[in-house]
Symmetry: D3
């Protein structure tokens, strides 16, 4: 048995039908001819692949927030958690949806500031204002 088989991408050709069905849907909906590595690795666990895809499809669809705003939020969280892959892939998605370098810069400025003030609040043990209860 190879070491850590679940830490290797599953290509379409070697995938089981359940995985192929998800890959097909991703490629059709996103109008691309290949899926990102993220999906190829999740394919090691077909149940998680399917569930994650169904959730992302539903969550990232246009709604009360537009798709670009959702991508910006996604990146902000990924930066805060330090997930390099997620930052790279979602900045790519955000660009396709219209993010300019200026928008990226302003988003990052907010992310930096929020991370700073989150800690200032915590360290100074700021009590909740009556108005926020």
């Amino acid at each position: 048995m190879a070491a850590m088989p679940y830490a290797k991408p599953i290509e379409y050709e070697e995938a089981c039908p359940e995985v192929r069905a998800v890959f097909d849907e991703i490629m059709t909906l996103r109008k691309v001819d290949r899926v990102n590595n993220f999906w190829k690795y999740l394919a090691n666990d077909p149940a998680t692949l399917r569930r994650t895809w169904e959730s992302i499809k539903e969550i990232m669809a246009p709604g009360a927030l537009d798709p670009l705003t959702k991508e910006l939020i996604y990146i902000a969280v990924s930066v805060t958690n330090g997930c390099e892959y997620c930052i790279a892939s979602h900045t790519g998605s955000a660009e396709k949806k219209g993010m300019t370098p200026e928008m990226f810069g302003e988003m990052m400025a907010v992310v930096g500031m929020a991370n700073e003030t989150n800690r200032l609040v915590t360290g100074y043990r700021v009590a909740l204002d009556e108005a926020f209860r």
Copy 2:
């Protein structure tokens, strides 16, 4: 000496002129007659109070991103960092700028999903796609 004097809010009446100047500017710009506890605690260190206010004023101003989008990003980071005070105060600000319950719900759905996929990517050790390098 009282224990942890820096963990107590400084009221306007007891504040030094440098602190009062910042409080005055916040109240004028935001058209309110009192400042939040956050500023009152930071007033224990006037240099940090002034620097933080100058930065927030500049960063949260309208630009390539509108103020509401910036608030949503701020909340997303604060939720990911688990800062209850920041969540409460910035959801308050976001509401004033037009955030509806539906927008809050969609923002939270993205935050939850990003936190989940950030960890899936990390645990499966997903390699960066050539296209993202």
Copy 3:
């Protein structure tokens, strides 16, 4: 069976000999007549209590760094992780070792700044300089 029995403090009077021995050593070394809640809760698992006490005693002792510097580092980490109890108890310890409100304020300014720049670096995907490899 009471719910979550391990989430209750163990008082000296009800403690087993192994726990009492640790409590005695803490009180003697720190010249206090009671131990903090932290130790009382850890007493639910005597092995963890003893191991944690032995480690802290060794790590926080004077060495290449003085005890106050070590407390400042401890608080900086606790603020970054959002542990309110740890912030409160270690600012108490730091004050006993000479931390002034000015020192606290400067420590917090560094903590805030580091949290901000950590994220800026991550979001901009800053490549390691040759000199740092």
Copy 4:
């Protein structure tokens, strides 16, 4: 348009006057003939570059805490947040200010211990001692 233009370093030669002014000040103050990649990437957003430099210059200056202690706190936060670049660059700065391998080792021991006890406190749901309120 190149993908993710904001994720590339801006060299002095191609920089706009506002960026060059900051680069010049960094090189003069630190007595070096080049700036680190951190500044070159931030240069994609001149406002963030300038604001970050002004803040760091003010915060890291000698005060109630000496510059080496501030660097140790910076590293402790960066380790806790998992920012490899920040760890590498600030251990470099700390060495220039006198950090010995023994100091680094003790700092890391405190960081490790604080991360451990932060979680023990959280998991055991340790109640705040009356004395810390």
Copy 5:
């Protein structure tokens, strides 16, 4: 409009049919006559409520790992993220599935140790062994 309406629990009596259907399923499957606050708050966003419930039901079911092991993993993550509510509710679930105080203590010891060594690895910038690539 009440402030932060999404930060209030929705009781069964006031819930819409879609929310009631999820509440009913939770109560039936778990053999309880009320749902926890977690579900009542999520009910502010019926889509997130349903999706979260469907996912948890699938993920926490017996499989290659038994339900108690899954609860221990859930608690370990919640402690690391500092989510007090999640710790309280999942230690409750774990107790129902057989977790003893000794198991809780050992789980916490591993969580504490892992948090410590995660940071030691990061701070010492430990290179990946050839065998782990």
Copy 6:
């Protein structure tokens, strides 16, 4: 003096007697003929090396929880903290103790879900149920 001497592995041949004694014990207990990089880097601080080894040996031993369950908890924390080295080395250990790809997949699904719900709870500011107090 070489830059960052503490960020280099210490090989057995160049190690001091105190370090060699720990290396010997690790190799004997684990029946291997070399130690992982983790131990080689910690060897830069012999006190931390010894203390960490003593703690891990005690914590990861069989007890109320079996060694495989402990490894799964270790991985779950390491994924949540984003420590790639720790994930790689402990999935290796877990495989030796019987972890199958299915177990890994289910563990990861729980880790992803817990990270998601931790944030949902925080963002919706879910109040603690009376039953959990």
